[in-house]
Symmetry: C2
Subunit: 315 residues, 2 copies
Amino acid sequence: MQRVRYVSSLPIRSFSTFGRLKSSRAQIIDGKKVASSVRQILAEGVEREKSRNSAFLPFLAIVQVGNREDSNVYVRNKIRAAEQIGMKAEHIRLPNTASQSDVVNQIEDLNQNPAIHGMLLQLPLDTTSPIDSGLCTQAIHPAKDVDGLHTDNAGKLAHGELQRCIIPCTPRGCLELIKSTGVEVTGKRAVVIGRSKIVGSPMSSLLLWNHATVTTCHSKTKDLAGVCSEADILIAAVGKAQLVKAGWVKPGAVVIDCGINAVDGRLIGDVDFESVKEVASWITPVPGGVGPMTVAMLLQNTFESAKRFQASNSG
Amino acid sequence: MQRVRYVSSLPIRSFSTFGRLKSSRAQIIDGKKVASSVRQILAEGVEREKSRNSAFLPFLAIVQVGNREDSNVYVRNKIRAAEQIGMKAEHIRLPNTASQSDVVNQIEDLNQNPAIHGMLLQLPLDTTSPIDSGLCTQAIHPAKDVDGLHTDNAGKLAHGELQRCIIPCTPRGCLELIKSTGVEVTGKRAVVIGRSKIVGSPMSSLLLWNHATVTTCHSKTKDLAGVCSEADILIAAVGKAQLVKAGWVKPGAVVIDCGINAVDGRLIGDVDFESVKEVASWITPVPGGVGPMTVAMLLQNTFESAKRFQASNSG
């Protein structure tokens, strides 16, 4: 059936019920491709630094407690990705019987170790002990906190000191994906659904200090659909499969989906991809969108940390 | 002339051009009165703690560099307010020739001094030396940082750890003023104009973690009037006299004015009070609104800090 281009004068939420030309469908933001490009540039950067200083070797340590199967996969991917670009990476696995002080002591050792430039504690912990994972995260020295979860890094980010903090990997990856579209962030309305420490909160700060006008939504937000429909840039980081419908999305918006929800053995995002791609101008798929960027940004953070340590040692 | 009650069906920005019944004018939020009540409760709290533990004495230190006349007034007011509720307060003035390390050393002394529960560095500095005031603020131990400007406190606030951080005085005072109206914050649309470390950014976080849906605006925001008109709670913290006009305000909104702009020898807020009070349901005046609350919250922060130190010493 032939369809004509329709310019809506109706409220946005009705828009998606009308046919649109195929050419007006969203372009897919290929996270694998962008992440691959980031890793390639990083590999060249590591090589260049090594050629200048043969002792340069970015070194990432990943502390895992216990033996969760999903964590094993994530850790293995991070280690492999680090090694592939010429970094060193070490997987330190503590038994699920490790106590909180065992974990903190391990982290302290890594803090003291001058060879280590970045570390992270793989969450969630698989443990038989009462361990405060927040306390363990706070034990990581802020300069080595390549997950960006320490309050020192969060505070600097909140204060807009982007050059002085380590930015959490997922929000940093989302920003890179937005930038990859060529869409300008300054002055845009951005809406972030979610306020977690690891994605939503730092995402709002990062967009704010990239000069977007940012609205943060959460479980207590009323008329979530209406608020979302104001967004030129919409970030879903809420952990509810296919929550964001086409009617929530402003035509032409950039939609970034941080959700990874396991449904019937498949990974599903927070965005109803099939319908939203008819409304948005750009959209990330799940999988293959934000996910690959998170690992790439972990490597980026580790590389930058190694360069800062190198500069401070030679200074 | 007799006027009738008019319920607008027009866009909000046109609303204020219509007459409203006198009874629909905003109620004034009396910051002096609320602050006075806070100080009274604090005085009773200090008295009660002293009766339980005769050694209990909240002690605030204010470090001033140089001799700015406005700073002298602010410092004197804070010292007097602390003493009036039974706290101890010390004004430490360094000469305007003091170096950065002089200031940091003074702060370190106060960090080490177990009698001191709270301190602040009065800004802006009046100095002939190149002093990084941010670096000096970061030298204050987070547990004694009663201005809440340390990144450790900012990070905890950004992460929603409200019970574990010290909240900057002005945003905390604004929240108390909002609460004094009886208006529920949860689920409301809040708009904050400004993203400074001392007011705008922490205000956004504080409203977010009190479960408002928060939008943060700034110099790069487009259609500021339109964004503001979405707000059930509107906070102006931008430092531009009478920026916020009646047409920017949603009828019935709560409007909090953090601006203190000296114009022709008078103090003027960021809100055009005379017109906005015809549209808002509640509004703070300038002076007599947010200003008195800032000092009251400084005392509140110092009192709470003293109690935390007491608890950790007896623990």
